[in-house]
């Protein structure tokens, strides 16, 4: 559990942010200049805010009121930087073990091997950073941070400097890390947030404008980046007809065959444009996925369109329909409807 409360002035910019974060990945989402990096630097101990309190796992790292300010090198908070910041005079192995050598509780040899394998770095250990690709540098940066046995991992736009191909190379590794250590993930990319995070903290102009789950973020209940929905599901069956069944709290999705073992967890993304609504259960219909849902909210987002926020069990997602349809169906919060999901996106894994 992480408690953050910071007040800092930097010229005309004022940071006044307070939030909590649990296990898993918490995204700090906001436009450039929202104060994301200032928050991360303050948590790492690289900048000293005028006022604030930072508690990680019950350990008070900063409490200006009581004069507590643990130096950065004793905080056990590791950072993954946008520009990787590998030490150019050390090879990959020495970089990876830099934090490990200085850790209070050192990971075992087996654990080191596991992380090196997980990040696919076995064949790079003897190389100098200058001879690594952008994606490889990012992976080494991740491994170096993880091996320092941090209590919290800060990722400051770790993918921003990479092209799309490199991004999709790194994202699966980040997904694997979700269960390793709590993470604060700074990003201004909706896509990355939807794909990786469990919770979202919205920032604007140095202030927290909303907090909630990634499901609420995706459906548009918090923030204004409504894209549809995110559902964490589990593979329950591979059928003979080339389809797979995924179950989630709220029902079942039938999708094209996914290349994962039965029982494995995966995240499914739904675009708001791909969801149709029906007041009555449609019978003769080509779509495979018809989910019973309840309308949570109706938002008229433009002259022609409206977002209908739906709840289906624990899953929340949004249907984007025309206001003409909204009027014709007479939709209102609280109603039961059927959501017809035309297609879903499942991110590839390694």
């Amino acid at each position: 559990m992480i408690e953050i409360s910071l007040r800092h002035r930097l010229g005309a910019f004022t940071l006044d942010a307070e939030f909590r974060a649990g296990p898993g990945i918490t995204a700090l989402f906001g436009p450039s200049g929202a104060g994301k990096t200032s928050i991360v630097n303050a948590i790492a101990g690289l900048v000293h805010p005028c006022e604030g309190r930072i508690v990680v796992d019950g350990c008070v790292l900063l409490d200006t009121e009581n004069g507590i300010d643990i130096p950065a090198h004793q905080r056990r908070i590791a950072c993954v930087f946008q520009d990787a910041r590998l030490f150019p005079h050390m090879n990959v192995k020495a970089n990876l073990l830099f934090g490990w050598r200085r850790a209070q509780t050192r990971a075992s040899e087996g654990e080191i091997t596991r992380i090196i394998t997980m990040l696919g770095l076995e064949h790079l250990l003897a190389r100098k950073p200058a001879r690594l690709s952008g994606g490889e540098k990012s992976r080494v940066g991740l491994g170096r941070a993880l091996l320092s046995s941090p209590t919290l991992l800060l990722l400051d736009e770790p993918l921003a400097a990479l092209d799309d191909a490199r991004k999709s190379e790194i994202l699966p590794y980040l997904e694997r890390l979700r269960d390793e250590v709590p993470m604060l993930y700074v990003s201004h990319s909706v896509d990355e947030v939807l794909r990786l995070s469990n919770d979202v903290v919205l920032l604007r102009d140095g202030h927290v404008t909303g907090t909630g789950s990634v499901f609420q973020f995706a459906s548009g209940e918090i923030g204004d980046a409504a894209t549809g929905g995110v559902i964490d599901a589990r593979v329950t069956a591979h059928r003979d007809d080339g389809l797979s069944e995924l179950s989630f709290d709220g029902g079942m999705l039938i999708v094209s065959r996914v290349n994962r073992t039965i029982g494995s967890a995966l995240r499914v993304r739904i675009r708001a444009e791909d969801v149709m609504l029906a007041r009555e259960e449609p019978r003769a219909i080509s779509a495979n996925n018809v989910l019973p849902a309840e309308i949570l909210d109706v938002r008229e987002t433009s002259a022609a369109q409206a977002d209908i926020i739906l709840r289906c069990g624990a899953a929340h997602f949004t249907a984007r329909i025309t206001r003409a349809s909204l009027a014709r169906l007479g939709l209102a919060p609280g109603q039961k409807v059927f959501a017809i999901v035309k297609s879903v996106t499942i991110d590839p894994q390694i």
Partner: protein
């Protein structure tokens, strides 16, 4: 070498190398400390220290030699005290020549080392901090190794420059054969001697050769410093 140089000339060459080596060896740690101080953030008096460090660069070397003579002569308070307590006598001694060369090349050394320190990405320090490295740890494992090629280039340049120091040495420690007569002083002496032109030319050629060799090595080191591994 003995076929080319006379015994006296060889003596001057070896003395020059010794004086320059000691000058750099003594000055370098102080130059590193000063460069570290000046490359850190601002502190009161920084401008003054920066100015003092650069004085030998603009002062005529003869004036510097004269100042040293006043300060460290055996009858001057500081000179007398050093002699009484440490048995250190600089005037008319090769150690004085080394001290003069050290002071004259000190500004170069500080500037050069400061440049290589400031070219180190500050982000690497932050990364090391978050990975648990304290101040001394970062200095030893990040700052020094990354600045080392630059420091080496600076040391070699300072060594080559010390070989050529004339004004401060002749003023401070005089021109004593075998004790303070380094290569430039030997050239000067030869030119003052009737029929010594041939010797002056030989020694000048030797000086040029030495300068070329060391500057080539320094340039090689500097290039390695720029294209870090």
């Amino acid at each position: 070498m003995s076929g080319y140089l006379t015994a006296e000339e060889t003596q001057a060459l070896l003395l020059s190398l010794r004086v320059s080596f000691v000058a750099v060896a003594v000055a370098l740690p102080f130059a590193l400390a000063t460069a570290l101080l000046l490359s850190r953030r601002n502190f009161p008096g920084k401008l003054l220290i920066d100015g003092i460090v650069h004085v030998p660069l603009v002062l005529p070397p003869v004036a510097m030699g004269y100042l040293l003579l006043i300060a460290l002569g055996t009858r001057a308070p500081l000179g007398a005290w050093l002699l009484a307590h440490f048995g250190l006598r600089f005037v008319f001694s090769w150690t004085g020549a080394a001290l003069a060369a050290a002071i004259i090349t000190f500004p170069f050394q500080v500037r050069g080392i400061r440049l290589s320190l400031e070219s180190i990405d500050k982000g690497l320090h932050d990364a090391a901090r978050t990975l648990g490295a304290g101040a001394l740890d970062r200095f030893i494992n990040i700052t020094l190794p990354l600045a080392l090629p630059g420091i080496v280039a600076v040391a070699i340049t300072a060594f080559a420059a010390s070989l050529g120091e004339f004004g401060a040495i002749i003023t401070f420690v005089s021109n004593i054969p075998g004790e303070t007569r380094t290569l430039p002083l030997a050239i000067y002496t030869a030119l003052q001697t009737p029929g010594g032109e041939a010797e002056a030319a030989r020694l000048a050629a030797l000086s040029i050769a030495l300068a070329l060799v060391f500057m080539t090595i320094a340039e090689y080191a500097a290039r390695r410093a720029r294209t870090k591994p």
